[in-house]
Symmetry: C2
């Protein structure tokens, strides 16, 4: 059985000193390991209502589209400002210094739908929470969030509240 952890490479001091970055490119580069990660995400989320998968730019695109295909539902991108061409809803969130913003097309999810929000990794939970709020603003429900990696030593739970968070690999 594939041990996914073997395909995550630790990069010390990236993007800045003191941070150990979890590099997922070895996982993506191995067809068997990548497929295993999608199979396990689908299994981990098999009990969850899912009319669409929402993926966060841009590593959430890698796992989100594959999960959407596995679950046979559509895929919705959440993007950085100015990238989506049609009418959008938008949400600001705070960073360590300053703020950032994400957008979603206003016709991307429909009132009453249940969606799964996907990214490669959860750390502070800022982007993931903003993505959930965009979904909820359009009258849909986030039935769960799915991540390959959760950095449990960072207090992302404070932001995400009681939302249902699933992850394949947990650190801390």
């Amino acid at each position: 059985m594939t041990n996914l952890e073997d395909y995550i490479r630790d990069i010390p001091d990236f993007p800045k000193p003191g941070i150990v970055f979890k590099d997922i490119t070895p996982l993506l580069g191995d067809a068997k390991a990548f497929r295993a990660s999608i199979d396990r995400l689908a299994e981990e989320l098999s009990d969850v209502a899912c009319d669409a998968v929402v993926g966060i730019e841009s590593r959430g695109f890698l796992f989100g589209t594959a999960l959407a295909m596995a679950k046979d539902v559509g895929f919705v991108p959440v993007r950085k400002p100015g990238k989506l061409p049609y009418d959008t809803v938008s949400r600001e969130y705070s960073l360590e210094y300053g703020t950032d913003r994400v957008e979603m097309h206003s016709d991307a999810v429909k009132k009453g739908q249940s969606v799964i929000v996907v990214d490669d990794l959860i750390a502070t939970g800022g982007t993931a929470t903003a993505a959930c709020e965009l979904v909820e603003q359009l009258g849909a429900t986030v039935s769960a969030l799915g991540f390959v990696i959760a950095l449990d030593f960072i207090p992302w739970r404070e932001r995400l509240g009681d939302r249902d968070v699933r992850a394949l690999l947990r650190y801390g």
Copy 2:
């Protein structure tokens, strides 16, 4: 049979006046249409040697990962500067005004491999050509490039040279 063109939305004057942007989010949002696009890309590229799929940030991630899974090979991301954490090779290319740059991990493709470079759309061919040059710099071969959309009224061929370019939808 699914007509992919029905799932591409024209957005006039995006990102700037005079440009008609091809919005692929309706295609992504429809499970059947998205799957059809991947099946047809795989079919269109079925005769091409492929040890890995290289996808260009970030819409190339959407189609590239799904194609890599369909072809049962690994996926390699080409990214904007500063995003990839490990040792990289890097290539500059010219824009209408100024230049831009893309990067790939230096261990991402191996000498002698054949790869397919994927993006959602080819317009000027600047990023696609830079991605090919990164692959070739590492001693691998670009056996073909695959796009959902080719804007044939833009002279991308001048940049791409005699590389093998396949596309599902052609405009112009």
